[in-house]
């Protein structure tokens, strides 16, 4: 099962990014193979619909769960439509590593 964690960098020691549509990177973690990969969010600076575009990327990646700080209404609608679970983490100072450990 693939999970996306929004990330501010492209390594596992990067900070968790609390933004979904405007996150710098998406960390894709597969808990069956324990593999992680990072995808740059090309829509992070778009003037509108960044959340929708990010949600489209999630569907294309075939992930079942997304972890971020919050989700806007348009992203939420799209993710719900494709049955992708949204997990919200509000705390500060969280690293990508910490979240991967919890998922493994």
């Amino acid at each position: 099962m693939k999970t996306v964690i929004t990330s501010s960098g492209k390594t596992t020691d990067s900070d968790f990014d609390k933004r979904f549509g405007r996150a710098d990177f998406f960390c894709v973690f597969d808990n069956e193979t324990n593999e992680t990969s990072f995808i740059e969010n090309i829509h992070k600076d778009s003037s509108n619909a960044a959340g929708t575009k990010a949600a489209e990327v999630m569907v294309e990646l075939g992930v079942s769960k997304v972890i971020s700080g919050d989700f806007g209404p348009k992203a939420k609608t799209m993710l719900e439509k494709f049955d992708i679970q949204m997990v919200i983490i509000q705390g500060d100072g969280v690293k990508i590593n910490d979240l991967i450990k919890k998922l493994s």
């Binding site: 829509h43 778009s46 003037s47 509108n48 619909a49 929708t52 489209e56 294309e60 075939g62 348009k74």
Partner: protein
């Protein structure tokens, strides 16, 4: 010759509607062939002050929205590439395509982009244009539907409506506030812009923005200082330094505010305020006559 006068301001709440209505009313009293147009489509309020005006015509304003024909669509993504507003969602792996109507600007680029005839169009209402009769003259307002963000489109339609429907010699455009697209669309191609400003630091700041815009659009303009007596003299120094035409000053009056709040715009107006509006109206009539 149709003489178009726009009443605009950078800052909101400076008195555009008051000035527009008083000029309209004074021109009506002089039996001028005048019509008032409320271009503040997000919150039109001119008609509140004419409780006896009768609705004579209502036109629906529509926006074109693309409809994707899924049997024809190859999910190539060319329409998404063309869409400047990110309004199209396309997920090829699950054969999903949809449009977010709140982002669509009806530019037609997706229809143009598609090589497979997979895009047709449908209409979606974004507002209304309504004309009211007020004795010999009429008042027309554009009204944006709540939830739509296509102000400029309603304004453009109102302008087209005026060109085909209005025979008034003097056309007064009550503009939306600010200096954004909707204001540009309202004041562009008018013969004269009356800028309403208040003598406060905020009023001066936004007047400067407005003057910058008007210079770019190369329009004739002058300033009415409303609520004179408030704030400070900085605005007068700016007007003098920039050699801007001063149309008049409306003294600040709590009495007038009370009347306005009660919806009573034209009765019991303090004489000094009425005189100020009379003078402004005379100047505008002279400008109109000079052109005809």
């Amino acid at each position: 010759m149709r003489y178009k006068i726009a009443i605009a301001s950078g800052k909101g709440g400076t008195g555009k509607t008051s000035v527009a209505l008083h000029i309209f009313n004074l021109l009506q009293n002089r039996k001028a062939n005048v019509e008032l147009f409320d271009f503040d489509v997000e919150e039109p309020n001119d008609l509140i002050f004419f409780p006896n005006a009768k609705k004579i015509k209502e036109t629906i304003v529509n926006q074109k929205i693309p409809v994707f024909i899924e049997q024809e669509c190859t999910f190539c993504g060319k329409c998404v590439e063309f869409c400047e507003f990110n309004a199209i969602s396309l997920i090829p792996s699950v054969k999903y395509i949809s449009v977010d109507t709140s982002l669509c600007h009806s530019c037609g680029a997706c229809t143009h982009a598609c090589n497979y005839d997979a895009v047709s169009e449908t209409k979606m209402q974004i507002g209304t244009i309504t004309s009211y009769s007020n004795g010999n003259n009429s008042i027309t307002e554009g009204r944006l539907k709540i939830g739509s963000a296509m102000q400029t489109m309603v304004i453009k339609e109102l302008k087209k409506y005026i060109d085909t429907n209005s025979t008034a010699k003097i056309q007064i455009f009550d503009s939306p506030p600010g200096t954004s697209c909707s204001v540009v669309e309202t004041i562009i191609n008018t013969h004269y812009v009356v800028l309403v400003a208040e003598p406060t630091p905020f009023g001066l700041h936004d007047l400067k923005l407005m003057v910058k815009l008007i210079k770019k659009l190369e329009l004739s303009y002058g300033v009415v200082i409303n609520k004179a007596g408030l704030g400070n003299n900085d605005i007068y120094e700016f007007i003098k330094a920039e050699q801007i035409e001063m149309l008049g000053e409306i003294p600040f009056s709590t009495e007038l505010s009370k009347l306005y709040s009660a919806g009573d715009m034209f009765n019991n107006i303090p004489i000094e305020i009425l005189n100020a509006y009379e003078n402004i109206t005379k100047v505008l009539i002279a400008k109109f006559q000079a052109l005809c």
